[in-house]
């Protein structure tokens, strides 16, 4: 499902102009990472995608629905949103009920709900923990419960707000696997992140925000090549990209694979 944002502006009641004219199209099935310094407007932007915030000016279209005239409860069937802190949404006495909450709100049939819950639990590797109380799990696993409880809603668009914060390598790999699986299913994934390595390894398109405006928008390799522009919003390119640049690679490399290819290419030509 396509997201179309047209000259979006948003001013908080305090007078803070968080978004100052953002125009953006995210195609169906795209994987997009949003980066930028704290206060750049990342969360404010994605909260417009499911109607939690209403534009001060401009418009946001989710498929053919205008978020201005569609309720959040209805938009929830198209846009799933995983909040940063799982503790601010988990309330059920066991993981199974928690994951079932979303699809049940959307009014899916019992069979479909059960199937979606099972799939979400498998994807997040929670299948053996369905009976556990979420608060008996470690924070890393609670994050997975929060992920599962949104994935089970089977929305064509899924938003993650800083999914990797405070997670260990294993958990980050699990989140990356979930995102890859969503991509395979043709879903649109939008992720806010400060974890630039995670961003480089999992996303094709990167949008850098700065002070309520789009600073850069494009293919990850291009974005990471422009370290001076990125510095304006306090984003450092991934370590391997910087190392590659120092080694004088012609291409901007993003991950180990590209780095090794470039490295072999240089040594071969010598």
């Amino acid at each position: 499902m396509k997201i179309e944002i047209n000259d979006l502006r948003f001013t908080y009641p305090t007078g803070l102009e968080a978004l100052q004219g953002i125009s953006l199209t995210i195609e169906s099935g795209e994987q997009v990472a949003i980066v930028g310094q704290n206060g750049a407007g990342k969360t404010t932007l994605v909260r417009h995608f499911n109607g939690l915030l209403q534009p001060t000016a401009g418009s946001v279209l989710i498929g053919d629905w205008d978020t201005k005239i569609t309720s959040v409860a209805k938009l929830a069937s198209r846009v799933g949103y995983v909040f940063q802190n799982p503790d601010e949404q988990l309330f059920s006495k066991d993981v199974g009920t928690e994951v079932k909450f979303g699809p049940r709100n959307l009014g899916y049939s019992k069979d479909k709900t059960d199937e979606l819950v099972k799939r979400a639990l498998t994807l997040t590797e929670l299948s053996d923990k369905t009976e556990t109380n979420p608060y008996d799990l470690s924070p890393t696993w609670r994050k997975m419960v929060a992920l599962a409880s949104v994935i089970s809603m089977d929305t064509p668009i899924v938003i993650f707000d800083e999914p990797t914060t405070g997670q260990d390598a294993l958990s980050i790999a699990r989140i990356a696997h979930v995102i890859a699986e969503l991509r395979r299913e043709g879903k649109t994934v939008v992720t806010i992140t400060h974890d630039i390595d995670f961003c480089a390894e999992n996303f094709e398109r990167v949008i850098a925000l700065s002070e309520g405006r789009i600073l850069l928008d494009g293919v990850a390799a291009n974005i990471f090549g422009q370290d001076e522009v990125l510095a304006q919003t306090y984003v450092d390119p991934p370590q391997l990209t910087r190392l590659g640049k120092k080694l004088g690679f012609k291409e901007t490399v993003r991950n180990q694979e590209e780095f090794l290819t470039s490295l072999r290419g240089t040594s071969d030509s010598e």
């Binding site: 909260r47 499911n50 939690l52 309720s71 959040v72 409860a73 929830a76 069937s77 846009v79 799933g80 949103y81 909040f83 802190n85 503790d87 601010e88 949404q89 988990l90 309330f91 909450f101 979303g102 709100n105 959307l106 608060y135 409880s149 949104v150 809603m153």
Partner: protein
């Protein structure tokens, strides 16, 4: 990031520079004098001659008159009408409605009580507008108030806005999961558990973390503590405080003597 729950307005005025204790004594003296003074017009006089000028000296006129319109006037007005109608005193009936009589005496009495209420609320509004809560608490702790008591007051002022922000996030998160918080009554009843339980649980966890955090900084240590802020307590403060205490004593003595 979140504002504290307080009325304090940061200005640079003589009133702001007074010691917090002096300001409490000032507010209490105004209230006590208005209660004990034997003369009818004392409260009205206090309002016009003491409180209003102080509001301007404290540079909080805008804030004071806004709160006066919103809070003090309705409260005083309500009390005025209740007293005027239901005070069974006096013979000179001015106005009669069904079984309710308004007499000249009850009207005068109501006017006095309403003004007294206005003076009481105004004195405290003035105090709250010009005194920062933590300044007040550190000053009182320095004077021997148990720090636990100060902590309860200050943390309540801080936690409420934080809980409010947290509640907003929880509502947003659950609405994103399709929770209907806007339609029928029964649907809303059903949405209480998903909203309240993360809030209660999260707040309990926060209280514990807060307790550990302040203990890590030696909260219950018996040693004398230093303060980051120095709160001025000049000799003029002491002078004002004693002067006010004497005024209160005079008004009590006058009351006893004249009645």
């Amino acid at each position: 990031m979140h504002e504290r729950l307080s009325f304090f307005v940061k200005r640079d005025s003589a009133l702001h520079h007074l010691n917090p204790l002096t300001k409490i004594v000032l507010a209490l003296s105004i209230i006590l004098v208005s209660i004990f003074s034997p003369w009818y017009w004392t409260s009205h006089g206090l309002l016009l001659v003491v409180i209003v000028p102080l509001v301007f000296i404290g540079k909080v006129a805008n804030e004071y008159f806004t709160s006066a319109l919103r809070l003090i006037l309705p409260a005083a007005g309500f009390i005025f009408f209740m007293q005027a109608f239901f005070q069974p005193i006096g013979q000179t009936v001015i106005f009669n409605f069904w079984f309710l009589d308004i007499t000249q005496e009850s009207l005068l009495f109501a006017f006095r009580i309403a003004t007294r209420i206005t003076v009481m609320i105004s004195a405290f509004t003035l105090f709250l507008l010009t005194t920062h809560p933590s300044e007040l608490m550190s000053d009182l702790t320095r004077r021997g108030l148990p720090p636990q008591f100060a902590y309860v007051i200050i943390s309540t002022l801080q936690i409420l806005p934080q809980m409010q922000a947290k509640a907003q996030t929880i509502i947003a998160a659950q609405r994103s999961r399709g929770l209907d918080t806007e339609s029928t009554f029964f649907k809303r009843i059903g949405s209480v558990v998903p909203l309240v339980s993360p809030l209660v649980f999260g707040s309990l966890v926060e209280v514990e973390e807060r307790a550990i955090a302040i203990e890590a900084r030696g909260f219950t240590s018996k040693k004398a503590k230093t303060s980051l802020y120095e709160i001025s307590d000049r000799s003029s403060d002491k002078f004002i405080r004693w002067g006010l205490v004497i005024l209160v004593i005079i008004s009590i003595v006058l009351k006893l003597w004249l009645s």
